[in-house]
């Protein structure tokens, strides 16, 4: 993989982020609500002060100027001030972001760990009993909405069996192993809900990718050289089949963030998704805008990583 390829991919991120920022700002500019309605509705602030503030923040400028100022401020890391929690938006988001990334990362890992072996087994034995069962379960898995799975798990493991805590707590007492154990116990359900939902659609992708590869000539060649079946699957089939799967995982990224939003809301995980919902319910526009922008940037970033991985897995891509 050449350095040129990486640089080209980095440069390609710029128009994407630019496009997303235009979409977001258009939505905000078209919206009928006034971001300063909080101030206007506040009887303690005289109208002249409100008007002066509007002029100061450039709300009466033309759209292009406003967009330019907004973009510059976002790029500088100056994301405004939360109406509801009275602290800077960037501080708020930085507090919440690690939790979300941990949950999403662990869920994605779980999805891959479950889906890869199941998908490969189903793909190498197409239309067998195992394949049919796996396929049916995969359909059930991605037809179950995350919010319903979450409630079902709470009903079984928290209410009926009382094994796992119902909501995610940040103020766990105890130190050392005790703390890690509690943390692990309360993370199981959110990660399982998200991971199994992702895994279900991943199984089908892996299966079809394997099916595409299995009949190719080089696999037959490998077999005829006397390489064991296991080694053929692991070294020859899976390695090639993974290439399209990587892209599909990246394309699923927006869906994963959506799922994380719901999961965080059900289990009260203090992540960026629950921040978005609570900001919406309390009309906290700067936080809403910033969180949406951050989520979009994360999606673009993960697409970039997928592109890099793709170039690494399939060297032909780099020279195109």
């Amino acid at each position: 993989m050449s350095r040129q390829y990486v640089i080209r991919r980095i440069l390609l991120m710029i128009p994407s982020i630019f496009g997303i920022s235009v979409v977001l700002f258009t939505v905000l500019a078209l919206a009928p609500g006034d971001p300063f309605s909080e101030l206007a509705a506040n009887p303690a602030i005289p109208p002249e002060v409100a008007a002066a503030l509007r002029a100061k923040f450039g709300l009466d400028d033309p759209v292009w100027t406003r967009y330019y100022h907004w973009l510059i401020a976002m790029l500088h890391g100056d994301w405004g001030f939360s109406f509801a929690s009275r602290i800077n938006v960037e501080t708020l988001i930085l507090q919440r972001l690690p939790t979300t990334l941990v949950v999403i990362g662990a869920a994605q890992l779980l999805a891959i760990v479950v889906a890869l072996p199941v998908g490969v087994l189903a793909g190498t034995r197409p239309y067998s009993i195992f394949d049919q069962i796996a396929n049916t379960l995969a359909f059930v898995g991605f037809s179950l909405p995350t919010f319903f799975t979450g409630l079902l798990l709470i009903l079984v493991f928290s209410v009926q069996l009382d094994w796992l805590p119902m909501v995610y707590r940040t103020d766990i007492s105890g130190a050392g192993w005790q703390w890690y154990w509690e943390q692990f116990k309360q993370s199981i359900m959110p990660i399982a809900v998200l991971g199994l939902f992702q895994g279900a659609s991943l199984v089908r992708y892996v299966r079809s990718a394997v099916l595409d590869v299995v009949r190719l000539d080089y696999v037959t060649t490998a077999r005829s050289k006397g390489i064991g079946e296991r080694s053929v699957i692991a070294r020859h089939i899976v390695r090639t089949a993974l290439i399209p799967v990587v892209t599909l995982v990246a394309l699923q990224m927006p869906v994963i963030f959506g799922g994380a939003l719901v999961t965080e809301q059900i289990f009260r995980v203090p992540g960026i998704g629950s921040l978005l919902i609570s900001a919406m319910l309390s009309n906290d526009t700067p936080v809403v805008m910033a969180v949406t922008f951050v989520l979009s940037c994360l999606v673009v970033f993960f697409n970039f990583i997928a592109d890099i991985l793709y170039g690494w897995l399939d060297p032909r891509i780099s020279y195109r």
Partner: protein, 320 residues
């Protein structure tokens, strides 16, 4: 026998008697693409089962409120949070309202949202895909870049953002029910057209070079006529499949919005909204959440299976 020559066979068909005459039309009908697709669809056992179950759900939702004439908003505190019984087959909610009546009524809205959003996505997708496919050069490049950009937007956060910003003004124009319905349909549909657009474009790119299109062009058919009369009917299969799956996705999206408390108002019991109301009492009245969640799950699962069956029937070469 008179019916042995093909010409007289078609002429005699209405009065046709004898084995040769009866067998010949059946053999001919086998070549009709619709019949052929139906034959393949019937082979998909799960899809056939799903069709029956979905038909039952549809019939229940459409005709059920005529049979089960319990009002959806009859409050009866004496009977609150009761489990299933003869007077309330699916139990009651926290205000003593009949869950069955609410689910039957809400199902109409959930299904209507799914279908309408699918229509929006298909119309926008076919339009953009057709324009991109027929025009070469920068129009195509820009449209496909737009589709890629929309694909990398985090759908759920953006959906929430738009609803958050536009809800109040639409409510004042179209009323609380109509406003939310129009917005939810437009936004869900407007964020799901990319898949259809890419499919249509890919189909057009391959079909427009075929001889019969060349013939149409040589006979002086305008580009619009080429697309509408000659290309689109041949590109319909994948679009129908994608549309079917879009219905399921739209139903999930609407339920997610309602579940997050940002969809329909509380007096419109869509399935997601009922689940949202039920989640806080899941420990004492699990039936309430279970029945509404099961309704969403069953509908989405059957639609997904039907989509899979349609894919086998209309697009037999694809593996996934």
């Amino acid at each position: 026998m008179a019916g042995s020559t093909p010409a007289s066979l078609t002429a005699e068909r209405p009065a046709g008697a004898g084995a040769a005459v009866a067998a010949a039309p059946r053999k001919q009908a086998r070549f009709s693409p619709g019949r052929e697709a139906w034959r393949r669809f019937r082979k998909h056992r799960l899809a056939m089962m799903s069709t029956v179950i979905l038909a039952i759900i549809l019939a229940a939702v459409l005709l059920g409120p005529l049979v089960w004439q319990v009002p959806i908003n009859e409050i009866d505190f004496a009977a609150k949070l009761q489990g299933p019984s003869w007077t309330h087959p699916l139990g009651t909610d926290d205000l003593g309202q009949d869950v069955l009546a609410r689910l039957l009524y809400g199902g109409r809205i959930s299904l209507a949202v799914g279908l309408a959003a699918m229509m929006v996505a298909c119309v926008v997708g076919v339009l953009i895909g057709a324009i991109a496919g027929m025009s070469r050069g920068y129009v195509e490049a820009v449209l496909m870049w737009l589709a890629d950009l929309f694909l990398s937007l985090p759908q759920l956060p953006l959906l929430l953002l738009i609803i958050y910003l536009f809800r109040d003004s639409l409510k004042s124009v179209f009323g609380p029910e109509g406003g939310v319905f129009i917005m939810v349909v437009a936004v869900i549909g407007g964020l799901r057209w990319m898949q259809v657009a890419r499919l249509v474009r890919a189909q057009i790119l391959s079909i427009r070079e075929k001889e019969f299109i060349e013939a149409a062009r040589a006979l002086g058919a305008s580009p619009v006529r080429q697309v509408v009369r000659h290309i689109l009917p041949n590109a319909l299969g994948p679009v129908i499949v994608a549309g079917t799956i879009d219905v399921a996705a739209a139903i999930i999206a609407e339920s997610t919005l309602s579940f997050l408390g940002l969809g329909f108002p509380p007096d419109i019991p869509t399935w997601g909204r009922v689940l949202f109301d039920a989640k806080d009492t899941i420990d004492i009245a699990p039936h309430w959440a279970l029945f509404s969640g099961a309704a969403i799950f069953l509908t989405v699962l059957t639609i997904n299976f039907i989509g899979d069956g349609l894919r086998d029937a209309l697009d037999p070469r694809r593996v996934l």
